[in-house]
Amino acid sequence: MELDELKTAWQASETPSRTAYFYSAKAAKSESAVSTMKFGPIFEIVMVAIAALWLGNFCYENLASPIYLVSGMLLVVTNIALLALNIRKLTLMSSIDLTTPIVENQRKLTEVRSLTIFQTKWILLISPLLWGLLLLVLPMGVHVDMLKLLGVPYMLGNVLFGIIFVPFGLWIASKFSPKFKAKLADEISGSNMKKARAYLDELREFEAG
């Protein structure tokens, strides 16, 4: 049997009803396989940029207090990394156009996905540390010195709480939703990233012939 013989079968195969598809298309769905919604990254960029400015000012005001300066600087570095990541994501998302060739679009969609996986993984991993830093820096922004007010043991306790909270939160989440647990495990272990990279390789091979 030749491939051309299958063309007749293909041309004759049934097509389902098209009733109401157009009207449902006008009412946009919230979840899409090719969602190019840019509100998320734009919102994150604005918030992170505001935070970076505020933190810059915070560092300047606390040049004489090393513990606050270092805490502020660490948060600035995290913010700048987040800002760069979201700008890259937004640039890629803006260039996605479903009317352009498939291979190129699939590559961009997969790169956006890789960046999201990377961001989720690192936010999860560094969140215990961020919790402690934020508890120190945010009140100081309104001139409340938590170290003086509550003491070093309380602050260390909170950092410890941050470290315990993430695995505990994950454990609770996994109790209620095994799928959520699997998804998070995939994000942290890097297996989702491996799948995304494998698909990028597949696209490169396809393009090369």
């Binding site: 049997m1 030749e2 491939l3 013989e5 299958l6 063309k7 007749t8 079968a9 293909w10 041309q11 004759a12 195969s13 049934e14 097509t15 389902p16 098209r18 598809y21 157009f22 449902s24 298309a25 006008k26 946009a28 769905k29 899409s32 396989a33 090719v34 479903l98 009317t99 352009t100 060739p101 498939i102 291979v103 190129e104 679009n105 699939q106 969609l109 699997a182 989702n192 799948k195 698909y199 597949e202 696209l203 396809f206 393009e207 090369a208 012939g209």
Partner: protein, 174 residues
């Protein structure tokens, strides 16, 4: 400036005339009836969203194929990632594979859909376009690959079909 109503009517007419593309792409990338409906709906949504940028001097079907296949490939990948399985053919999940006559013994249609389901998403797109009598140049334009590359892939698909038919013949005789 064109009225919104005219714009909608034009889109609806073009969609009706080329509905076969949406239906066949949905049939080829989704296994269950529910998934096929979801995919057809999602393709329609994206077509409607992109319609304002459609250049009337270009072929509508080529434009439609690009959107439909882009959506379908992403849809199939998303489903496969969500369900944590491969995109390979799994007969237990398939509901009512479309056929030409409603007769399950229609060998060619069965072989055709088995071949479609055994391919990865990108090669599946090449096969669909080939079955739709698109030229190698058009396939290359839609996919974003060279004409020579398209020819190579079609030749591999032909080989694959031969192997599949031979394998089935051997299984029938054994």
């Amino acid at each position: 400036m064109r009225k919104q109503a005219d714009f909608q009517t034009e889109f609806q007419e073009l969609l009706e005339a080329h509905w076969k593309i949406v239906a066949k792409v949905s049939n080829s990338y989704a296994r269950t009836a529910d998934d096929r409906n979801d995919l057809a709906q999602e393709i329609t949504i994206q077509l409607w969203r992109s319609f304002k940028t459609f250049d009337r001097s270009k072929t509508f079907s080529t434009w439609m194929y690009r959107i439909a296949l882009n959506v379908a490939i992403s849809f199939a990948r998303k489903l496969s990632l969500r369900r944590g399985n491969s995109t390979e053919f799994d007969v237990t999940e398939v509901e009512s594979i479309p056929n030409s006559s409603g007769n399950p013994s229609d060998d060619r249609t069965t072989i055709l859909y088995q071949l479609i389901d055994s391919l990865d998403e990108l090669n599946r797109a090449v096969l669909l376009l080939y079955l739709e009598e698109k030229s190698y140049a058009e396939i290359g334009e839609i996919m974003g690959i060279t004409e020579t590359n398209v020819a190579t892939k079609i030749s591999r698909l032909k080989e694959r079909l031969k192997k599949q038919v031979n394998q089935q013949d051997n299984e029938t005789w054994n």
